[in-house]
């Protein structure tokens, strides 16, 4: 499992760095160029492009991690909810 841990850590690090790079590029290009015209929303309108594309999965995950870790929320409210152990 140490290998899995290192693998996950490496992948996350690379993606995080590339996202930071993307943000910097977007900011340098100016916010005015952001966005699309209404007729350019074909891809964005797809279900899989919804920010919370699987709300049921997200609810189940939130319940697990709320019970097992000291952090909760972020995407939505942190909330109370259960005396889970």
């Amino acid at each position: 499992m140490v290998i899995l841990g290192e693998m996950v850590r490496d992948i996350m690090k690379k993606i995080f760095q590339s996202n930071i790079l993307l943000i910097v590029l977007l900011m340098s290009s100016g916010c005015s160029s952001l966005g699309v015209e209404p007729w350019e929303r074909d891809l964005l309108a797809r279900k899989e492009m919804a920010l919370n594309a699987s709300p049921i999965d997200a609810a189940l995950d939130d319940h697990i991690y709320f019970s097992k870790e000291a952090s909760s929320g972020g995407r939505s409210f942190a909330g109370g909810g259960c005396g889970c152990n």
């Binding site: 499992m1 899995l4 841990g5 996950v8 850590r9 992948i11 996350m12 993606i15 995080f16 996202n19 993307l22 977007l26 952001l34 966005g35 699309v36 015209e37 209404p38 350019e40 929303r41 074909d42 891809l43 964005l44 309108a45 797809r46 279900k47 899989e48 492009m49 919804a50 920010l51 919370n52 594309a53 699987s54 709300p55 049921i56 999965d57 609810a59 189940l60 319940h63 697990i64 991690y65 097992k68 870790e69 000291a70 952090s71 929320g73 972020g74 995407r75 939505s76 409210f77 942190a78 909330g79 109370g80 909810g81 259960c82 005396g83 889970c84 152990n85």
Partner: protein
């Protein structure tokens, strides 16, 4: 309550409505054929075809830890669009929990005997093993209801209610949020508020924090120090969100959340071992946590649509006045597969310990004001490796399967381990398997 991009929702709704209309037309035509009214669809029938159907999403999940907790959770969620963009959502969640959970005490090179939290009877923990309290058995029922509607062209409001009940716990909550669209609906700003009231009534009552546990005995006499039968806490959450369409393929969300919790935040089932300089347990005390906590978090999500695949990456940084901080990285990658899709999932969670976390207390040291040996407020790394397969069926139905492996690796935040504690596992990993089936219709 869901702070999703309104415009994205609008587009989906338009597509769904068109699809729904087609389906409704077919159903109406079929009904008319059966009734023998060939093709003469009157105005009433026409208006009925405009009404939307309920959309159901259901799931059944199994969560099993090696030698510890096992849970089964079922969800039925129903959503209906009443008028243009007015949505009512109802959700019922039922879960059942059994098994054992670490009680906070340290492992010892001999058999340890503990009183059950209820005060009824005792249980033994074998030499060298992490003490697990095996008395967890609970069933929880939760209901949620929410309503969302546009206020004006650019504003949308949503409100929600939450109620959850289990044997020893009740949680009630409400929430509201307001979103405003700008810039041809490419930018959405959201502000949300939620409040919860939780009450716990543990079997055996609320233990006196930091009091020494009496010697476990098998008689029915319960002389454990108690300060009451129940206690409560209140939670206030505030969420500020910004969603931005970047281009035809990319969308981002940024959230800031603040959460303030006041009241009973101690876990009545957790204890802390007091050890001598040989690492041998002298006694156990009940844990005590502060009676308030203020958390902050920032959340950033990016979704990008490649030619056919979709990558979903999110990062959350959380910090609080217990000195807990955490980083969470999550990645999903959706790949078309046959008529459906597959979606690998990776999650990495890193947590710094709470200021009052102690894996044990050394005899002779003054008791701290607050102390908990619960590994969940300690230092840890956690990993999730998952895989989902989704299969669209006829008429907008979908079946999907998910399997995930979750591992928590608690770590020593820097305490010297005296004597025998060097020879036992104090920071044991927890491994869990999650299996889930979803059906939407």
């Amino acid at each position: 309550m869901q702070l999703t991009n309104k415009l994205q929702k609008t587009n989906q709704q338009t597509l769904a409505r068109n699809k729904s209309k087609n389906l409704k037309s077919l159903l109406t035509a079929a009904t008319c054929s059966l009734l023998g009214t060939t093709g003469q669809v009157n105005a009433k029938a026409q208006s009925q075809t405009e009404e939307n159907q309920w959309q159901f999403d259901t799931a059944l999940m199994y969560y099993g830890e090696t030698d510890r907790v096992t849970a089964v959770e079922g969800i039925i969620a129903a959503t209906k669009e009443f008028d243009d963009e007015e949505f009512l959502s109802l959700k019922l969640t039922i879960d059942s929990l059994t098994g054992a959970s670490a009680n906070g005490a340290v492992a010892q090179p001999y058999v340890q005997t503990f009183a059950r939290p209820s005060g009824k009877g005792t249980f033994d923990v074998p030499a060298g093993e992490t003490p697990l309290d095996d008395t967890f058995k609970d069933t929880r029922v939760q209901v949620n209801a929410s309503w969302a509607q546009p206020l004006t062209t650019d504003y949308t409001i949503s409100t929600g209610l939450h109620a959850s009940k289990e044997y020893d716990y009740v949680s009630l909550g409400l929430n509201a949020s307001l979103t405003r669209d700008f810039n041809k609906k490419n930018t959405t700003v959201a502000v949300g508020f939620a409040a919860f009231y939780d009450e716990i009534e543990p079997e055996g009552g609320i233990p006196n924090p930091l009091a020494i546990l009496p010697e476990p005995k098998t008689t029915a006499i319960d002389d454990r120090p108690r300060i009451g039968s129940s206690d409560n806490k209140t939670t206030i959450d505030v969420l500020l969100g910004l969603t931005q369409v970047i281009n035809r393929r990319a969308i981002m969300q940024f959230n800031y959340s603040f959460s303030k919790v006041d009241g009973y935040l101690t876990d009545p089932f957790k204890i802390v071992s007091v050890v001598d300089d040989l690492g041998l347990v002298q006694n156990q005390i009940y844990e005590k946590r502060p009676d308030n906590r203020q958390k902050h978090s920032i959340f950033w999500q990016t979704k990008y649509h490649f030619t056919s695949t979709v990558v979903d990456f999110s990062y959350r940084y959380l910090w609080d006045d217990w000195e807990i901080s955490s980083h969470t990285f999550e990645l999903r990658y959706r790949i078309p597969f046959g008529t459906g899709y597959i979606e690998p999932h990776l999650r990495h969670y890193m947590q710094e310990a709470a200021e009052f976390y102690r894996p044990f207390i050394e005899q002779g040291d003054a008791y701290p004001s607050y102390v908990s040996a619960d590994y969940r407020v300690g230092e840890m790394n956690a990993y999730t490796l998952g895989f989902k397969y989704g299969l669209p069926l006829k008429n907008g139905q979908e079946l999907s399967f998910r399997i995930e492996y979750y591992q928590q690796d608690p770590e020593n935040p820097g305490y010297d381990l005296p004597g025998v504690l060097q020879d036992v596992e104090l920071f044991e990993s927890v491994e869990a398997l999650i299996v889930q089936i979803n059906y939407s219709f």
